[in-house]
Assembly symmetry: C2
Homo-oligomer: 380 residues x 2
Amino acid sequence: MNAMLTSSQRQLLRAISESGPLSRTEMAQMLGLSKAAMSGIARDLIDLGVLHETEIVYGQGRPSVLLDLHPECAFFVGISLLEDPAPMILSDLNGKIIARQAMPLSRDPKVIAEAITEGLPSLLEAHPDAKEKLSGIGVALSGFVDESQANCVQSTLLGWQDVPLAKIIRERSGIETFIENDAKAVAVSEKLFGSAREIQNFSVVSLGDGIGCAHFIDGKLYRGNHGGAGEIAHCTIEPGGSPCRCGKRGCLDTVASMKAIKEMSRAEGLECTSLSDIENEASTGNAAAIRILHRAGSALGLAIANLIQMNDPGLILITHVEGSFEGLFGTVVNQAIETNVLPRYAGQTPIRIKRVDGDVWARGAASIAAHNFLIGSHTS
Amino acid sequence: MNAMLTSSQRQLLRAISESGPLSRTEMAQMLGLSKAAMSGIARDLIDLGVLHETEIVYGQGRPSVLLDLHPECAFFVGISLLEDPAPMILSDLNGKIIARQAMPLSRDPKVIAEAITEGLPSLLEAHPDAKEKLSGIGVALSGFVDESQANCVQSTLLGWQDVPLAKIIRERSGIETFIENDAKAVAVSEKLFGSAREIQNFSVVSLGDGIGCAHFIDGKLYRGNHGGAGEIAHCTIEPGGSPCRCGKRGCLDTVASMKAIKEMSRAEGLECTSLSDIENEASTGNAAAIRILHRAGSALGLAIANLIQMNDPGLILITHVEGSFEGLFGTVVNQAIETNVLPRYAGQTPIRIKRVDGDVWARGAASIAAHNFLIGSHTS
DNA sequence: TTGATTTGTTCACTTTCTGAACTTAGTGTC
DNA sequence: GACACTAAGTTCAGAAAGTGAACAAATCAA
């Protein structure tokens, strides 16, 4: 790959990824280098096809030429092992999804590697460019992944323990492969492709069936000492509350996950199959629905407030697949955050809500590969 | 100062500070440099008086010479603005306290600068060496400090808002000065002088009158986006609980701080003036004392468990000034941590308890100056 | 058209690091 | 006690990356 990029070159790519197109002079200032040095670095990256000149900005004096990442300089495949069939997407360096298909899920790593390898030709079929410039595969899964983004330390869902998945896929497919925990992958995609590009410290809370969370700190994904940073789902929110499948009681997951909300409404005899249904019930005054949404919303809000207190992030990004945040649930969450954060902080931490489609995980997976391509995982 | 140290030189100093004495060959490996480069860097730092040769380790082949920081190459003054009179200490590069005195506390920054400047001669009197090599002043205070460690953004205790304290002290005394929040200063001193030297990710929970907390992430103090990372004291632990002076309800501070514990016992009619007193009462079976310690301990344990879940640190260091952790309080804290952390994590995160003396804050303050001297604050 | 202004390039030179050869200071063996 | 063996640390020529100053280029403003 481009494993032989200079440290300065990588720094530059990161700066552009964060700030968008920049002139050479701006880049030089940003990295603290001389214009002379920058000139050379930019030339090399343009020759490599990674950067290209885009807009020309006219001002006083010679106009500046903005350089940007060349979106078609590299392509990535992202696979989500969270659903069956497993979504498989092809993305460019901007995170744009160019092709999508699905493959059967399996618990056998070798079968997965096989399915990916077999799926590649049809995914790439209509895109000869991408075929040639395929630069990495990313895999998102539910579980713990080690720092090298190569080994799955443990996954309850897949029944794994110390599975060197990246290596298995790389050896079978011949493509550089990285794996990552689902929530962390989503955070990386928001940093690289999404709405947190320029933010150095932020946390993403992703609401799917379960509740995921990941932190970026100083512009870097923070994995924690055992890869467990962000396990907000198993923070105790209702001490002595309902038992959780993790073995504890009162975990956030038991009250605020979509799964829990649906289970609670089923237990209350509500015929609701989605968050929207429950929201509808609540808006017509159904007491049980209101109670459930209140309980879930306060729990999630409290957990997020505690996160803000502990880590003081510059942004909380809540991504949700289902329903909307405009109903009771969202309102309660926001209220609970406000009332449980230091008054002098309240409103200081932007909370951004983002509805995402079913491609989040696969796009997140692709972003892991893209991140390794662009910046490398072990840059400071 | 030694503001003109190379980036490599600073990296080396950091490595030694983390790992203790190292041979040149080990250092070269650690920083990923050639032995040749290391040889030169070490020579320069020895000539500067920052490093010195210590032990000689015999093995096969030529014995290796371990290099260590020269503890007397620089001295620092640390002042804690948390008490009146304010402790003022002189420390070497190992964090050893060489002299100590006190100065009157004031809410007027200029008066503080004056008091420090006037206090210096007597503090340095018996130590001509330190006089000559005084390399920085550090100040610890309760409140928020900005990233440059120069300005106090806000301090309720001191009634400040945007006070450029470091500049004021520097201009009056002529010595490079840095300020920091109390809990963050303690964390830095544990990283630099204490029991967390070699740990990259850890959190310090410091129990004094209040509850402070600070995080090290990737070997760096993490301040948060508004300098508020670690404000665990105002995490909501008992939703709808007692009102806190911050304006919210049920903050950890209202149940588990020494102040809160003492207030609760007073409210219960116990004649206890210290944690030990209450522990004694509890050990004789006093139900109120037991109840109070249980409540406080569970709250603190829950907060720490949530911290572990969120950030997965490699170590939790609990420092306490008063009492002991061997009684009921400590036991309950540990239990609460265990029961509120993901079972697969329990026991994975070491919890270290450390009893500290009244010098913690001043030593922490000195460590801020030392850290800036050694490593500089803006190194990656 | 001319001057002002700012971007970006070129080039000679400095700084920092590398690789290979070499020196140094021990241990282990006979 | 001499002699190989081993690993640490130094030296030195040369490569790599960056700097500063001079310069070329491209526009605006008058």
